[in-house]
């Protein structure tokens, strides 16, 4: 029995090493806040650890942790809109990522300006490479709504990228 527990523990450590960074990155893409991203990732991993005897047999245990993280993020959005607005205010003060390049920074700035659901759909669809059906399942939305949100999000990004405000950001960066 002990050997089995130890084996499971080791297996979880491997899982942690593989997924921690990815989950933290996903959390950041959803929140624009590394502190909150860290919290979301840790929370998702602790919950995954609790369910590990059941989850480790899954074909993709990482998908379970991702689902926990996305659910947790949705829950936080619902429960703390005021806090979310406060955090949104903080995001503007964070340092940008110089290695993104000018166009990347402009695009990331546009992503951060998207409504939460549009942003989550685009992050899951294009960063996590999830099919729209999986995105719909993760976010608890109808497939048609996900398609619509993705379409409108991309259209808005296109529009934002060509907008005078983005040109100004681009100008400031250059």
């Amino acid at each position: 029995m002990d050997a089995e527990v130890t084996g499971a523990e080791l297996q979880f450590r491997e899982f942690f090493a593989a997924e921690y960074g990815r989950l933290r990155g996903l959390g950041y893409l959803l929140t624009s806040d590394w502190g909150q991203a860290e919290e979301l990732a840790q929370d998702a991993l602790v919950r995954t650890y609790r369910a590990w005897p059941r989850v480790r047999g899954h074909e993709r245990p990482g998908a379970y942790a991702r689902k926990v993280l996305v659910n947790r993020h949705r829950s936080l959005l619902r429960r703390a809109k005021v806090e979310a607005r406060h955090l949104a205010g903080r995001r503007a003060e964070e340092a940008v990522q110089p290695e993104l390049g000018t166009d990347g920074l402009v695009l990331w700035s546009a992503v951060r300006g998207l409504p939460a659901r549009q942003r989550a759909v685009l992050v899951l669809r294009y960063h996590e490479d999830l099919p729209e059906a999986e995105v719909a399942r993760l976010l608890g939305l109808p497939l048609g709504t996900v398609k619509s949100l993705a379409h409108r999000g991309l259209a808005r990004l296109r529009a934002e990228l060509g907008s005078p405000a983005m040109e100004e950001i681009r100008g400031n960066l250059e």
Binding site: Y20, L45, L100
Partner: protein, 406 residues
């Protein structure tokens, strides 16, 4: 393509965070904190459960003991409630605890009780009745307490005006409960069944400014009546219940000093009131009487709640085609006629209501005259009546309320 640029940007952003070093240590701390929170939550749940068991549950149980069955004097479906509970009968002026093992139901008169055990219930011919009422002077437990006796023992000076004296059925006994409450009891044996009535004096306090009912209030009693299989253990058990009910009953409302009386319900004919009506039998002496009389009478039926005769009561005088006769006051009615008290067990007790109307000086001899009772239960059938003799043709014919006796 915007999609490709977006993916590339998102991947770079996600991978560009602070150093991941120490992530697992933070995970371990996070896990410990999570465990502590869960443990604290579980502890809180345990504490809440302990609090519920220690404080809330006993209160809930106490509330259960304080469940109430309220007698309103209104009709309703038979509904039995398990004891322990408190039965409250403000119109009868008592409150009593119904013990566990018995269930109670409200009736017109007070409450009924029956055992929850089918074995015991089998030995009762009917539910035990707990009611108030006015007792014949003969039975009055107060002046005769402590004495076994018969009709011959009765002191004539104790008989109140208007009270009936008649020989009670069965064996009588009198005694006192511990604490001094005196009781009077009759037992009548018929085959295996024994019918028992217990009485104790029960006060009636008139409200300030409101005339007292015209009945011998000193003879008001709280009574338990039951019919039990006399040769079984059930008899002793039901006797014990009766004694317990009478010993622990508490006066409230019209039986308690300084308490307001409960609002009286309206009397209903045949249910809480017997309503009768009559007119002079003038057909035998046509044209001889100068006045035609019409009477309404009402009295409460035995041991029921006091009630108000609401009315309207009156008389309508008609011609042969159903039109009202030209009589002053024709069709006039009286409302809020009387406040009827709890009745005595005999039908000639005081306190009944009488409403008399007089019709006189009918000088139109154009045809037959009819009358109809206004306020009578059932369809308003018209009856032929002989009109009063014409006395003064220059004066109008009149129908008027002669008197109301309450």
């Amino acid at each position: 393509m915007i999609e490709d640029r977006l993916k590339e940007t998102l991947d770079r952003v996600a991978g560009g965070g602070p150093d991941e070093a120490g992530g697992f240590d933070r995970f371990l701390r996070h896990r410990r904190a999570s465990r502590s929170r869960r443990l604290a939550g579980a502890t809180a749940l345990v504490l809440v459960a302990a609090l519920v068991s220690a404080v809330v549950l006993p209160r809930l149980l106490a509330d259960t003991a304080q469940r109430r069955l309220v007698v309103t004097g209104a009709a309703g479906p038979e509904r039995w409630l398990d004891g322990p509970l408190v039965a409250v009968a403000p119109l009868q002026g008592f409150e009593v605890k119904v013990p566990a093992g018995w269930e109670a139901s409200a009736t017109w008169k007070g409450i009924e009780l029956r055992p929850t055990s089918p074995g015991l219930r089998r030995h009762l011919a009917a539910p035990v009745q707990l009611v108030t009422g006015l007792l014949e002077q003969f039975y009055n437990p107060a002046p005769n307490a402590g004495k076994d006796g018969t009709y011959d023992d009765l002191d004539d000076r104790e008989v109140l005006p208007g009270a009936l004296t008649r020989r009670p059925e069965g064996h009588q006994s009198r005694g006192s409960f511990p604490g001094g409450t005196r009781w009077f009891r009759t037992d009548l044996r018929a085959g295996p069944w024994r019918t028992t009535q217990w009485h104790i004096s029960w006060p009636y306090r008139c409200e300030p400014g409101v005339p007292c009912p015209a009945v011998p209030l000193a003879l008001r009693t709280l009574k338990v009546v039951y019919q039990v299989d006399a040769d079984t253990d059930a008899a002793a058990e039901v006797d014990g219940l009766a004694g317990r009910l009478l010993r622990t009953a508490r006066p409230i409302a019209n039986a308690a000093k300084g308490q307001a009386h409960a609002p009286r319900p309206d009397c209903a004919d045949g249910r809480s009131m017997v309503l009768k009506r009559a007119s002079d039998d003038m057909l035998d002496y046509p044209g001889l009487s100068t006045v035609a009389h019409f009477w309404w009478w009402a009295r409460t039926t035995a041991n029921l709640v006091p009630c108000t005769v609401r009315g309207p009561l009156g008389v309508e005088l008609l011609d042969g085609s159903g039109r009202r006769l030209d009589v002053q006051g024709n069709g006039r009615t009286v409302t809020q006629v009387a406040e009827l008290p709890e009745a005595m067990t005999a039908p000639t007790e005081p306190g009944r209501m009488e409403l008399r109307l007089r019709w006189f000086n009918w000088c139109d001899f154009g045809g037959p005259t009819w009358m109809r009772w206004i306020g009578a239960p059932g369809p308003g059938t018209a009856f032929p009546v002989t009109a009063p003799r014409c006395v003064d043709r220059s004066k109008p014919s009149r129908l008027m309320v002669d008197h109301i006796l309450r």
